[in-house]
């Protein structure tokens, strides 16, 4: 009778951990986690929030993967985010979803030559964001809840770059993308 070697068992166990760990879930709109008026709020920006991942580093697209954007235009920032592990939005317009795992749609906008900003789609079907070190919110610059980032009042962030998919989490701050 053949017995599985310890190495095979360990490998199988590791594979299970990898698969389970990679499950993505839509975030719920939970601004209180981010709006502590202290460390979390001050040190996590729109990119942290969009990916639902607290790093306390004011994360920058591409920094974790060595491809940080240096010019504030759609392509370089988008490329940086893709290098971090975010994925392109499929032609269907919906982020991948299967077997209990669902990726979160995020939107990128640009203040040309100045800055970038991200929005995320929450489990309630509405969008939310965190403008820099200010509080996370589901409202735009006109104080209207955001149903569509393309038509929301985005202040000076006039360029709409498109959407990507992020492996988020139902636990606030625990998104799975490799950002820093």
């Amino acid at each position: 009778m053949m017995r599985s070697s310890p190495r095979v068992i360990l490998l199988a166990f590791g594979a299970v951990i990898l698969v389970v760990g990679a499950c993505c879930h839509l975030p719920s709109y939970t601004p209180a986690f981010w709006n502590d008026g202290g460390t979390v709020q001050s040190n996590n920006n729109c990119y942290n929030y969009g990916n639902n991942k607290r790093t306390d580093t004011f994360a920058q697209p591409g920094r974790a993967s060595g491809s940080m954007a240096t010019t504030m235009q759609c392509n370089p920032v988008r490329t940086g985010a893709l290098a971090d592990g975010l994925t392109a939005l499929p032609a269907s317009g919906n982020c991948p979803s299967s077997s209990g795992s669902e990726e979160c749609k995020v939107a990128l906008v640009i203040w040309p030559n100045f800055d970038y900003h991200w929005y995320r789609l929450d489990s309630n079907g509405m969008w939310s964001h965190k403008p820099g070190s200010t509080q996370a919110t589901n409202r735009d610059n006109s104080d209207i809840t955001i149903s569509n980032p393309e038509t929301a009042n985005r202040g000076p962030y006039t360029n709409f770059c498109g959407y990507l998919c992020s492996c988020s989490s139902s636990t606030e701050g625990a998104g799975k993308e490799n950002i820093n």
Binding site: D115, Y116, H117, N141
Partner: protein, 163 residues
């Protein structure tokens, strides 16, 4: 032939003294560093990129203290912070981690409202926007701001808002 030589005896204090000196030097250096940690001004303008920051000199700090002391309480302010969650310019942040002078550890100002954080939070009025205007002028005069950011600041807080 007898060669006499004096043996140099090792004393444990030889180990302790250099360590003490290093510790004292380190302490002094750390103390100096803590003492040198000044008052920092941050322009709250970006969402993704880090916001521009600079140190305020003693003269600016002294003037800021005067203006803050003269700012009246604003009992009617009904939000939980003066800094709005919008895209674009959202005010100025003063941080005083060393507790220098009479400034609170954190002070925010935006469009006529001041928020002072020192254990608790107090809201004050920045009458005529003079305190915000002063800080903007100070930031612009420092030459440390990117020209595009300077332009945005000037449009948000026009000249003439200074006391």
């Amino acid at each position: 032939m007898n060669t006499s030589h004096r043996k140099v005896r090792f004393h444990p204090m030889w180990l302790v003294l250099p360590l003490l000196a290093t510790g004292l030097f380190g302490w002094s250096e750390a103390s100096a560093q803590a003492g040198e940690e000044g008052v920092q001004l941050t322009v709250l303008i970006y969402s993704g990129r880090p916001n521009p920051t600079m140190q305020l000199d003693q003269g600016a700090v002294a003037r800021l203290e005067e203006m803050l002391a003269a700012s009246p309480a604003n009992a009617d302010f009904d939000a939980d912070t003066v800094v709005p969650s919008i895209l674009g310019y959202t005010g100025l942040l003063i941080e005083n981690p060393s507790g220098r002078g009479k400034l609170p550890p954190r002070l925010m100002v935006y469009k006529g409202n001041l928020e002072s954080q020192n254990g608790g939070t107090r809201f004050l009025s920045d009458e005529n926007g003079s305190l915000e205007g002063f800080l903007v002028e100070t930031a612009l005069a420092s030459g440390q701001l990117d020209a595009d950011v300077a332009k945005v600041l000037r449009s948000e807080v026009p000249a003439g808002s200074t006391d």
